[in-house]
Amino acid sequence: MHCNHKFLVVKLLSAVCLAIGGVGSVASADDRVPSWQNAEVDNKDTPLHDPMLLYNAGGLDGKVAVIGLPSMKTYRHISVGVDLHEVVYGGSPAGNKNGTPDGKYLYVNDKGANTIGEINLQTGMLERLIALPFPFGVHHIALSTDGKYLFGTGEYTGKMSKTEISTGKTQIIDWGPAPSAPDYLDVGKKGKYVFAGNYYHSTVGVFSANPFKFIKAIPVGKNPHGVDVIPEGTLALVSDKLSATMTVIDIEKLAVKKVLPTCAGPLHTVMDVYDKDGGTYEPGKDSPEGLTSKYAYESCFVADSNVKIDLKTLEVVDEIPTHYRTGHIAISADNKYVIALNKFSTGLFSPTGVVYPVNFEMWDAREDSPTYGKTLKIIPVDGEPHNAKTIYAYQIKDWTMGQAEKGGLLKAGLTPAIYPHHKSKSKRYFMPKSNEQPGVRVVDGVKEIHVKAFSYGYIPRQIRVNKGDKVRIFVTNIDKAAGITKNPDVTMGFTIYGPYGLRTNLAAPRGVTAVTEFVADIAGEYAIFCQHFCGPLHLEMRGSFFVDDPNEEASNLAVGDYEEAQTLPGLVQEGELTIAERVKSL
C-alpha cells in the first residue's frame, strides 16, 4: 500500500489510509501541529470531502472534468463538445488565475466547435452554448473585470473577440498582418486592458477593454505562449516558448520590465494569491481588494519541470522535476499545491488502448513541508486537458437529499441540460498504417484525401474541395521522434474546426491510420489543427481546409457560408444555441 509512506501525514490522507486498512502514520495530536500538516478543516464526518475542486477543460474528449483537491480523485465529467481549452469561473478575474468565482457559472471554450459553453456549477450541467461568428477559431477566453464579457483569441484567423455573456453579442477585430495567431490572453485586473500573445508575430498585443480596440504590440521572445497577469495587476508574465525566457511586462508603462532566463520550453505561469492581510484568499469571504502574490510557477515543457519565480526579485529560485512535459499548470486555491498538467505519461501507467493517457501531477508547494517539491499524487487523465482552475468546494452547495426542492437551484421554466450529439454526420474508423501517397484522389465518386501527420505538420497542408463533395480523410501518423523533444510515442490529432469539428477530431497514434468520411456541405476556409499535444510546436501544427462553392469565388476568410456554419448543424438542437450576433462595437 502507498499508505506506509512516511511523509504522508496530511490528516486527510492519513484518514483515507486508515479507512482502507493501511498502516498509515497517525497525525500528531499535539496542539502545535506544523502548518504543513494542516489540511482544510471540514465539518463533514467523511474524510472524502475535498476542500477544493479542480475543473479542467478536457481538450479532445470534449468534456470538463471535476477533480477533488487534494485527493486528486476524479468526481465526474461534463460533456460539452469537441476540443475544450480554457475554463473561466464566472464572477470576476480578481486574484490569481483561479479568479474570484461567484459560484454560478463556469465558461469553457471549444476550439473545435468555435463555441463557448456555459456550465451551471450548481446543477453541474451544460446549460448553454454560445456559437461564435465564423471565421474565428477561438483558442482561449478570459473574463472581463466586471464579469459581463468574455474576451477571446481567434488563433486561426488573426482576430480578437469580445462577447457579451448575457446576449452573445460579439465584436470581432482583426489583428494583422498575416500570419497572425493570437493564442493566450489575460485581462488586466483593473478593467483597462486585455493582453494577448501572438506566436507568429512574437508580440504581446495590448487591447483596450472598453471600447474594445488594439492599442499597441510589445515585442517579446520567440513564439510566446502563456500571458498571465499577477493578482496585483502590475505585471504580465509572458512565457517565451522558443527563447527559453520569461518576458515581464510592466502594465503601467506598457513596456518590458525584465527578460529573465527561466527554462527550456516555458509555456504557462500561475501565481499564488494572498488577501490584504497576507492570509489565503477565500473568494466570497475575503475582500478582492489589495490581493498580493509571492511566487509564480512556470511550466517548462522541454525541461520536464516547473520553475518557481520570486515575484519581488523576478528571479528563478527553484526548479521542480515533473513527469513529463508539463503544458498547462494550475495552483490550488489555498496555494499549497501546484498541479502540473503533463502531456506525456511515457511508461507510467497500465495501457488501456492505443491512445495513452496524459496525467496530472500534484506537487507540494509548501516550503516548510518535508515533502516540499515532491510529487504527492500523479493520476492518469482522459482526453488531453488544457487549462484547469481551482474553486473552493464551499462555493458549490450541497443540493442532494432533497435540498434542491427548497428552491434557489432552478429558475422558473425549463433549465436546459445539454448533451452535445457526438460524432455527428460522419463515419470514423481506424485502419493499419497506410502507405498511400499524400494527396487527393477521386475513388468511386468520393474525394479521398490522404494526409501524413508528424510533429509538426501535415502533408498536404492545404486541402481544397468543392461544396457537396463526399470526402474521406485518411490521417497517418508517420512520426518517429518528435521534433526538439524526441518523444517516441506521439499521437497526432486532426481536427477541422467549426462545423467540421465533430466530424473529424481524429486521434492517430503511431502506426495507425485514422479515417473519417463526411459531406463537405458548408463552404469556407476552416483551420485544421492537431488537438493532441505533440510537442513545443504543437500549436504550429496546422493546415487549412477550403470548401469552395463552385458558384462563388474560391473560399477564404472573407468568402464562405459562415452564417450557416455558425448554426453548427448536427452539433446541437435548435433552441440550445445562442447565435452570437456580430456587432460593430461593445
Binding site: 498582418p177 522558443l242 492545404q462 521522434a481 526538439i484 524526441k486 496546422r542 477564404n556
Partner: protein
C-alpha cells in the same frame, strides 16, 4: 474582378499541376534517381539513398526510445522517475542512491532546493541558453551571404520547422524523409542549390513546393512565418552549402559554405524594388490561408521574437556581431 478571375485561373492551374505531380511521383517511385533542373540545366536530384534514409530514421527512433527508458545521455529526455519519492530516477535499481532525497526546507537542514535544481547549473545567458536547453550545439555565424538576412535566426526556425524532413544537418534525412516521395531535397548540395536564385528558395518556402512546380509535400510556410523569418532561413541554407559531415566539433561549429551570391539576385534589402518578387508575392498571397483582406494582408514586418529589420541585420553584420 479581373484580378480575381486571373488568380482563380492560376489556382485551378496549380491544382491541376498538383495532380500531375502526385501521379508522377507514384509512377516513378521505382526509379532510382530523378532528374532535376537548376538554371535550365538537368542535374541529378539531390536526395539521399533509401538505405541512408532508412538508417537515419532508425537512428532517430533509437534515440527517442533510449530517452523513454532513461538510457539517453541527453540533458532533457524523459526524466527518469522514482515512484517512491516522486523525484529522481526510475532505474532497474529499487533503492535510492544516497543524497537523492530529503530536501527538507528550513527545519530539515536541507537546501530547500529540489534535486533537479541541484543537478543543473543556473541558466546561462544569451545565445547559449538556446543551445544548452535544446541540446543543439550549432554554428554561430558572423557574416551572411544574403544581405539583410540573418543565418543565426534562420537556423533556429529551421530546427523547429524543417528538421522532420530535411534533417539536423540539412542532408534531407529527417526522421520522416523515408515516408515521403519524392524524397526531401538535400539542402547542402551546392551543385544544385547554388544555381537556385534567392527568389526561388524564398518562393518554395513561402508558397510551398507547388509554387515552383515541385512536390506538394513541401508545405507553404507563408501562413506560419513572416517574410523576414523566411529570408533568414534562406541565409542559413546559403551559409551551409557543401558542408560535409564534420570530423570534429571545431569543424562543426565553423562551417565553410561554397555559396557565392548571384549578381542581381533578390534579397530582403532590395526586394521592395523587384518586379519579379512583387509578382511572386501576389500569386502566393492569393493562395495562402489566413488572408481575408483588411488587416489580414500578409508578409509585413512585425517586430518581435528577436526579429530584426533587414536594414538592422545589415548594420549589425557590418559592425561584426
Amino acid at each position: 474582378m479581373m484580378k480575381n478571375q486571373y488568380l482563380k485561373i492560376c489556382m485551378i492551374a496549380m491544382a491541376t499541376s498538383l495532380v500531375v505531380v502526385w501521379a508522377g511521383s507514384s509512377a516513378f517511385a521505382a526509379e532510382k534517381k530523378k532528374r532535376c533542373k537548376a538554371q535550365g540545366e538537368k542535374v541529378e536530384c539531390p536526395t539521399l539513398s533509401d538505405e541512408a534514409l532508412e538508417k537515419a530514421a532508425k537512428a532517430y527512433e533509437r534515440e527517442a526510445m533510449d530517452m523513454a527508458v532513461g538510457k539517453s545521455g541527453s540533458t532533457y529526455g524523459v526524466a527518469p522517475f522514482d515512484y517512491l519519492t516522486g523525484v529522481g530516477k526510475r532505474t532497474d535499481k529499487t533503492t535510492l542512491t544516497k543524497g537523492e532525497s530529503g530536501y527538507g526546507g528550513h527545519d530539515g537542514g536541507g537546501t530547500g532546493k529540489t534535486e533537479l535544481w541541484d543537478r543543473v547549473k543556473a541558466p546561462a545567458k544569451g545565445e547559449a541558453i538556446y543551445n544548452q536547453w535544446t541540446n543543439n550545439w550549432s554554428p554561430t555565424f558572423t557574416e551572411t551571404r544574403v544581405p539583410g538576412a540573418d543565418p543565426n535566426e534562420g537556423k533556429q526556425w529551421y530546427y523547429g520547422y524543417c528538421i522532420a524532413c530535411h534533417g539536423w544537418m540539412l542532408q534531407g534525412d529527417g526522421p520522416v524523409a523515408i515516408d515521403l516521395d519524392p524524397r526531401p531535397r538535400t539542402l547542402v548540395a551546392g551543385k544544385y542549390m547554388n544555381k537556385k536564385s534567392n527568389l526561388e528558395l524564398f518562393t518554395s518556402i513561402k508558397g510551398g513546393g507547388e509554387a515552383i512546380s515541385l512536390s506538394s509535400s513541401m508545405p507553404s510556410w507563408g501562413n506560419y512565418m513572416q517574410d523576414q523569418d523566411i529570408w533568414n532561413i534562406v541565409a542559413w541554407i546559403r551559409a551551409m552549402q557543401d558542408v560535409k559531415s564534420p570530423k570534429d566539433l571545431d569543424e562543426y561549429l565553423n562551417p565553410k559554405s561554397t555559396f557565392k551570391p548571384i549578381p542581381g539576385d533578390v534579397n530582403p534589402l532590395n526586394a521592395a524594388d523587384s518586379e519579379d518578387f512583387a509578382e511572386a508575392q501576389e500569386l502566393m498571397e492569393a493562395e495562402l490561408a489566413g488572408r481575408g483582406g483588411g488587416d489580414l494582408v500578409g508578409g509585413k514586418y512585425v517586430e518581435g521574437g528577436l526579429r530584426k529589420k533587414p536594414q538592422d541585420v545589415a548594420a549589425k553584420i557590418k559592425q561584426g556581431y
